[in-house]
């Protein structure tokens, strides 16, 4: 097949969040061009923050992404509190961890069932599954709704949370709310077991390419998601304030999303990176889930990101049950509910400064960085999104994958590429803020 000429251009890649294109050009059996173009309309969030109050940053940056609105919220708050020197209470940190667990669980369920599973089941979307696999679709929607219902109790709603702000929470769950959350969470266990059974029965494409894996790491017990240093499988470890030395962002011509590199040409963030770096910290049901799925660090097949996500689903469900049970035992302190608005009443002390937030959100490590003046007005802002960090790595994967599958039909090559990109669960609104595969066989 060495004489093969293929041009692939997938315009507006489907079943990803946001707009992106895949462009592949094979001439005489040689790979001439292999790009992942992000074509999402740029929205200039960082620019819009300048001149605004640090107390507005969470509300605005949450709107970068509807899927990871809670993740942006948490990273934004962490950066803002770092900048003004505010230390949140331990209750606040526990509730934020619960929110992050729900965020990761909700997003992974959406990706596993609605975006990735149709590929594994050989259909174009979940719509035909409504007839062929009705109970599976119902299970997915039910699990997703449960996450949503818990977020509603905790922060008003999942898309653009209302009550999670700089300083803490505007409402705090009481006994009744904790009981309701616990029954919803424990009620999800049978569906989680059924999900594990389904996904462990599906064949993932085989493909290996070792790369650098980046995620939050820390020395404490537990799987780090909300707090930690930035670590890499190539031995890098840095404080979050030095995130720019990790991401080393650069702009390429064909994309509205910036890209990142660390020790090599590209690196990978997300569930697979977290599992590779922190999988040894899993225990109980999530450790069992990893065994059931046949996962063992270090995983170098990017298609298995979806499987790593499922391990994290189990981890987040079990961790959230633990949190709610312990809150029930200790009771919550509702006197910590606070109303800040624009801090008109000055209830939070503000100083000039700079601060960084680094949080593991569904697709990888998310960084927010703000510099503020003495009145708390933002003078500099920067957000580095997981998908921008992954884009270079996806292209590197595509460049290795295409020559390995050249003997396949154009349709099969296109599908393999689309599945690869989808496995990363790219969040394109975030990264531009992206996808296109067009095939023209000569």
């Amino acid at each position: 097949m060495s004489e093969k000429n293929i041009k692939i251009k997938v315009e507006y890649l489907t079943r990803v969040e946001g707009h992106g294109n895949i462009v592949v050009d094979i001439a005489d059996g040689r790979l001439e061009k292999c790009e992942l173009n992000i074509v999402e309309a740029p929205r200039f969030f960082e620019g819009m923050l300048i001149g605004r109050s640090i107390f507005e940053a969470q509300h605005i940056t949450s709107r970068i992404c509807g899927i990871c609105a809670c993740g942006h919220t948490l990273a934004s708050i962490q950066a803002a509190e770092d900048a003004i020197g505010f230390n949140p209470s331990s209750q606040t940190m526990i509730l934020r961890q619960l929110l992050l667990d729900m965020e990761i669980l909700d997003s992974h369920i959406l990706h596993i069932y609605l975006l990735a599973a149709p590929d594994l089941l050989g259909v174009k979307s979940f719509i035909p599954l409504i007839d062929s696999h009705n109970s599976v679709v119902r299970r997915a929607l039910r699990m997703k709704k449960t996450c949503n219902d818990i977020c509603e109790i905790l922060v008003g709603r999942h898309v653009h949370p209302i009550s999670c702000i700089v300083g803490g929470f505007t409402k705090i769950p009481g006994e009744k709310e904790l009981d309701l959350m616990l029954s919803l969470l424990t009620g999800m266990r049978p569906d989680m077991e059924a999900t594990l059974e389904l996904i462990s029965s599906l064949p993932f494409p085989s493909f290996e390419r070792e790369t650098e894996y980046v995620a939050l790491v820390n020395d404490g017990p537990g799987y780090p998601l909300l707090e930690g240093d930035i670590g890499s499988s190539d031995g890098v470890r840095m404080d979050k304030i030095d995130y720019k030395k990790i991401t080393n962002e650069y702009i390429v011509d064909h994309s509205t999303a910036k890209r990142a590199r660390l020790s090599r040409d590209s690196y990978l963030v997300g569930a697979l990176a977290r599992y590779n770096l922190n999988g040894s910290k899993l225990s109980g049901k999530s450790l069992e889930a990893a065994r059931t799925l046949g996962l063992k660090a270090k995983i170098t097949n990017p298609y298995l990101n979806t499987a790593a996500q499922l391990v994290e689903c189990v981890e987040c469900l079990e961790d959230s049950i633990k949190i709610v049970e312990s809150l029930k035992n200790t009771g919550t302190d509702r006197s910590q509910e606070l109303v800040v608005g624009l801090n008109e009443s000055g209830i939070i002390h503000v100083r000039a400064g700079k601060g960084a937030g680094a949080v593991e959100v569904p697709r990888g490590t998310l960084f927010h960085y703000y510099e503020i003046d003495e009145k708390g007005i933002i003078i500099n802002a920067d957000c580095v999104i997981p998908t921008s960090q992954n884009t270079g790595n996806i292209e590197s994967d595509m460049r290795k994958l295409v020559p390995e599958i050249l003997d396949r039909s154009r349709e099969e090559i296109t599908l393999a590429l689309e599945m690869l990109v989808r496995a990363y669960d790219p969040c394109i609104s975030c990264s531009a803020h992206f996808l296109e595969v067009r095939f023209v066989s000569k």
Binding site: T14, E46, G47, L110, K124, I127, G156, V159
Partner: protein
């Protein structure tokens, strides 16, 4: 009965309003029973090249390419629903218009700025005729159902023009001004059941302003609490910057 063909399109936005549909749970299957979704890029690989009975538009128009695309969608659609604040009032994307385009492009994309196509942000109705508006950031699910029912039946949907305060009082919330903060409830369209204030936060004006705001009353509230107009204007511009291009308001 033949099920109406419905398509979803997204422009500059966070796609959170689409997610609000996925968040409806198994109820979503009942909605899917009454319509035929022919195009929905975020969840479907299928594409459709004929006319649509209803096109649901999410996001703001921010590039020349988008202007052409939305005009083409209008030509192919019997009914257009602007879906979510980014589509109905341009929402947070409108803040961009407070800056010079060249400066904000340069700030975000440096010396590659010129490669990024961008025009002043517009809500959908500033480019094409819109038949139904579903405001809110994100959309409020009970209102989504109401507007869909109206659109499927061919009936008009009336967007409330009373202030959020009306619903907020019925919900017996303590006024945010009494709790020491400013709130845009007095000048913002209701219909969200005072969602944010019920959860302890303030109203940010995401549904757009009422058509005839009680300016004097609102000024009195601000004066009473010694709050500068400047602070409020900036706050209003978070969602409502593009209102200045609506000639009839």
């Amino acid at each position: 009965m033949k099920r109406p063909k419905v398509a979803f399109f997204d422009f500059a936005c966070c796609e959170g309003c689409q997610l609000q549909i996925a968040n409806m749970g198994e109820k979503l299957l009942d909605i899917l029973d009454s319509i035929e979704v022919v195009e929905f890029r975020e969840i479907m690989s299928e594409k459709w090249d004929q006319s649509y009975d209803i096109a649901i538009i999410e996001g703001s128009i921010t590039t020349n390419h988008a202007v052409e695309l939305i005009k083409e969608i209008r030509r192919r659609s019997k009914v257009i629903i602007a879906y979510g604040s980014c589509a109905t009032i341009a929402g947070v994307n409108g803040m961009k218009n407070s800056y010079k385009l060249d400066e904000i492009r340069k700030y975000v994309y440096g010396d590659k700025a010129s490669e990024f196509d961008t025009i002043p942000t517009m809500p959908v109705h500033q480019v094409i005729h819109v038949d139904y508006f579903i405001h809110n950031c994100p959309v409020y699910p009970p209102e989504v159902i109401e507007v869909l029912k109206a659109a499927l039946a061919g009936l008009p949907y009336h967007v409330s023009d009373k202030a959020v305060c009306v619903e907020c009082k019925l919900n017996e919330n303590i006024c945010m001004y009494d709790r020491g903060t400013t709130c845009l409830g007095p000048i913002t369209r209701s219909g969200c059941n005072s969602w944010c204030i019920n959860n302890g936060n303030i109203c940010y004006g995401c549904r757009g302003m009422v058509s005839n705001p009680n300016k004097n009353g609102f000024r009195e509230v601000l004066d009473g609490y010694d709050i500068s107009l400047d602070l409020i204007i900036k706050k209003m511009d978070m969602y409502n910057k593009c209102r200045e291009n609506d000639r009839n308001e």
